[in-house]
C-alpha cells in the first residue's frame, strides 16, 4: 500500500520553497517579535483585555450533547469547548514583498489550526473562529516571520491599500490610519484597533524588516524579484492542473490517460 506524503507546495524557487515551508505544520514559524496577550486582545477589539469572553452557548461539558460518533472523533477547540462566539482577525498583505499572501496564509491556517475558517480576497484575508482560538492564532500570525509590520496589516474594514505605493516610511497605505511609524523607536505602532476605533493605549508591533530580508522571506513572485516563469517545476504543475481540469472535468476516467 502506498503512503501519502504531503508536498504542501510545488516549485524550486525561493518564494515557492517559502510557501511549502510556511504551510507545513511540522515547520515552526520563526518568532521575530513579542506582542503581549493583552495587546493582541486590544488590537482585535472584540473585548477589553481581562474581560470575560462572551458566549453563545454554555460550556460543552455542561450541555447534554447527543450521542454522536463524529463528536467522539473530533476534539472541540478550546473556544468551542467554552462556548465562545465566532469572531475574526483580518489581515492585508502588500504586493511589495509582504511575507505572506492571502492564499498561502489560508492554506497554512487550514493545515495548522483547527476550527478556523479563512477566506481569500486580493486585499484581505479574513480568518474566523471561536474568539480564544482566533486570539491564539493572531498572536502567532503577528509575532512570527509570516508578518511584517510595514507590509502586513490587521484591518477589519476599509482594507484598501494592498496594491498602492508605499508611504514615505515604507508603510502600506491605510485610509483609516490605524498605525503610524514611530521614527524615534523605528517601530510601527497601532493607534486604532482593527476596526478603526482609537485605542487608549498604543500597541507596538515591531520594526519593519529590511528589504533584503523581505525578499528572502516573501511568498510572492514579482518581476523585480523572482518571476513565476523562473520556476519551471511550478509552471509545469499549474499547466498540469489546467489540463487535467480541462480534459477530464466531467469524466474523471480520462485522468488515467493523462
Amino acid at each position: 500500500m502506498s503512503t501519502y506524503s504531503p508536498q504542501f507546495y510545488p516549485g524550486t524557487t525561493q518564494p515557492a520553497v517559502n510557501r511549502s515551508k510556511y504551510i507545513n505544520p511540522r515547520y515552526t514559524w520563526e518568532k521575530l517579535r513579542s506582542i503581549s496577550d493583552e495587546d493582541i486582545v486590544t488590537l482585535l477589539g472584540h473585548r477589553k483585555p481581562g474581560e470575560a469572553y462572551s458566549t453563545v452557548h454554555p460550556p460543552l461539558e455542561e450541555m447534554k450533547e447527543p450521542d454522536c460518533p463524529i463528536r467522539k472523533l473530533v476534539e472541540p477547540t478550546p473556544g468551542a469547548k467554552a462556548g465562545d462566539r465566532v469572531r475574526y482577525v483580518q489581515l492585508t498583505d502588500s504586493v511589495y514583498l509582504s511575507p505572506m499572501a492571502p492564499y498561502v496564509r489560508t492554506w497554512a491556517v487550514n493545515w495548522r489550526y483547527r476550527g478556523l475558517d479563512a477566506g481569500v480576497l486580493s486585499g484581505r484575508n479574513p480568518i474566523e473562529g471561536r474568539e480564544r482560538d482566533v486570539e491564539k492564532a493572531t498572536k502567532e500570525l503577528i509575532e512570527t516571520e509570516v508578518f511584517d509590520p510595514a507590509r502586513t496589516a490587521v484591518r477589519g474594514y476599509t482594507v484598501h491599500g494592498h496594491a498602492l505605493r508605499l508611504d514615505e516610511n515604507g508603510l502600506m497605505f491605510d485610509a483609516v490610519r490605524r498605525y503610524a511609524f514611530d521614527k524615534e523607536k523605528g517601530v510601527v505602532t497601532y493607534i486604532k484597533d482593527q476596526i478603526g476605533v482609537p485605542l487608549d493605549k498604543n500597541v507596538e508591533v515591531g520594526k519593519p524588516l529590511p528589504e533584503e530580508e523581505l525578499k528572502k522571506r516573501t511568498v510572492q513572485f514579482r518581476a523585480d524579484h523572482i518571476k513565476i516563469t523562473d520556476d519551471k517545476d511550478l509552471l509545469g504543475f499549474i499547466n498540469r492542473i489546467f489540463e487535467l481540469r480541462a480534459r477530464s472535468g466531467f469524466n474523471p476516467e480520462e485522468v488515467k490517460s493523462l
Binding site: 481569500v120 486580493s122 494592498h162 496594491a163 498602492l164 505605493r165 481540469r245 480541462a246 466531467f250
Partner: protein
Amino acid sequence: MSEREKLFYKALRRKFKESPEEKYTTYYTLGGWAQDPRKREYKEIADNIAKERGISFYNPSFGCSGAGLGQRVIMPYLISGTKTYGMPEDIHFVNNAAMHQVWDDVRRTVIVGLDAAHTILTKRLGKEVTPETINHYLEVLNHTLPGGAVVQEHMVEIDPRLVSDCYVKILTGDDELADRIDKKYLIDINELFPQDQAEKLKKAIGKRTYQSLHMPTIVGHLCDGATMSRWAAMQISMAMISAYRLMAGEAAVAEFAYAAKHAELIPMATLTPWRRARGPNEPGGLSFGFLADTVQTSRVKPDDPAICGLETLAVGSIIYDQYWFGSYMSGGVGFTQYASAVYTDNILDDYVYATTDYVKKKYGGFAKAKPSMEVIEDVATFSTDYSLSQYEQLPALMETHFGGSQRASVIAAASGVGAAIATGVAQIGMGAWNLSMLLHKESLGRLGFYGYDAQDQAGPANLWSWRSDEGLPVELRGVNYPNYAMNVGHSGEYAGIVAAAHVARGDAWCVNPIIKVAFADPSLKFDWVHPRQCLAKGVLREYVPAGLRDSIIPPLR
C-alpha cells in the same frame, strides 16, 4: 519582443504627479474628497436638495469608514482609444448618458421576419405584395410603432418628441428587392459592409426579409425588455390591417400577431429563470455571441481583431457588469471599478496588442495556429507574464488597478483575446483565460475574491462542455450560464474573446448575421462602430440620449 512605448504611459503620467516607476508617495494630505471636482459638485447640489426635502442626503465625508474618501489620490480615467479623461463618477452607468443608450438600444430592439406575414397576405388573403406595398406598410408602421393610431377613431396618441428614436427598417439578402425598397427604410448591406462581408451576410440571410424594430427608449424605461416584442407585435398587426386594408379582427390578423410574437421573432435576449426574475430582452439572457454581433467595429477595421475585441469588451463590461450584476447583485456604487478597468487608461489595449504582436510573430498571422493545449499554454503564459510584469515594474499601474479582480480580468482578457486571435476559436481563447487565472493566482498568491476566483478555478472543467444542460459553445453562453451567473469582471471579456476569434477568422458575424446587419443601422442612437468614443461623449456630458421627458415637464431650474 522589441520595446515599444506602453500605451498606458501617458495616462499614468496624468493620473499621478510622480513618475510611474516611483514606488513611494505621500498620503492623507491631498484634500480628501474635495480633490475630486465631481464630488465637490455633487456635495453642493446635495446640500441644497437636503434643505429642500428636509431629509439628509449625500455626504462624501462618510467614506472610508468616516475618514472621508480621498486619503489617496482620486484618479481621473482616460477612456481607452480616445483622448477623453473623466473622474470616476463619470463612468458610473447612472451618470453616463451614453451608457444608458448602449443598453437601451439593445433592450428596445426586436427583429421580426416578414415572410410569414407576406405568405398570409398572398396565399390566404389574396393580397398582392410588392416592393411598393412593403414601402407603404413601412410608412404606416413608422407611424403606429411610436404610438400613432390607425383603423379606429378617437384614439389617444403619443407625443412624438418622447418617442423620436422609435422606428422600423428592413434588411434582406435579396439585392433585387433591396434596390426597390425606399432607402430610408433599408439597412443597406452593400453600402454598410466591406464587399466580402456583405457577400457572406447576403448569402446567409438569403431571400428572406426581416424588420428591425426599435421601440421607444422611454418605453424600455417605463416597462421592460419583455414588453418590446408585445409592443412591436400589436403595432405590426395594426400597420398590416391599415396598409393592406384588412378586416380588423379577422382570424388572419391573429396570424400576424403570432408571427410577430413567436414564429418570426428574434429577441435580443432570452427569458431568465425565476430566481433572476427578468423577461426576454434583459441583460441576463443576452448571449456573448449576440452581444459581439451588435458591435460594428469589424465593419471598419476588419483586419484588426484586437480592436474589435476591445470595443466589444467595453460594451460587454457595461451591459453585463455595470448594468446587470451591478444592479441586481449590488446597487449603489455598483461594480464600476471592476468593469471599467477593461476600457480605461489604454491598459488592456496595451496588453492585447502586445499579445497580438507575439501571436502574429509566433504563428505567422491571425487564426493560423491549430487549436491545441500547447497554444493555450504558450499564449496564456506569454500574455500573463507580460501583463503581470507591467504592474510589478510600474507601481503607478498597480495602484491604478488597485483591486485584484481588476488585474485578473484585464490580464486574463489579454490572454483570452490573444489565443482567440491565434486560432480563430473562441473556446481556445476561453482556455487561455482560465489558464491565465491559474498562473496569476499562483504567482501573486491572490487573485480576485472568493466567488470571483471560484469561477476561474472551475472554469477549465466546463471549458469543453457543449452537451445540453452541461454547457454550450462560448458564443451561446451568457451571464446566466451556470457558474457565470453571480460574478462580475468576466462576461464582457468573454464577449470580447468571441468577437476577436471571429474577426481573426475573417467572419462577417459571430453568431447571427441578422443581428450583425440590424445593428449596422446608422439611425441607431448609440454609436455601435465606435463604442468607446461614444462613452467618452457621455463622460464629457456631450451625449444626448433618447427617452428624455423634457417635452412634458417644466424646464429644469
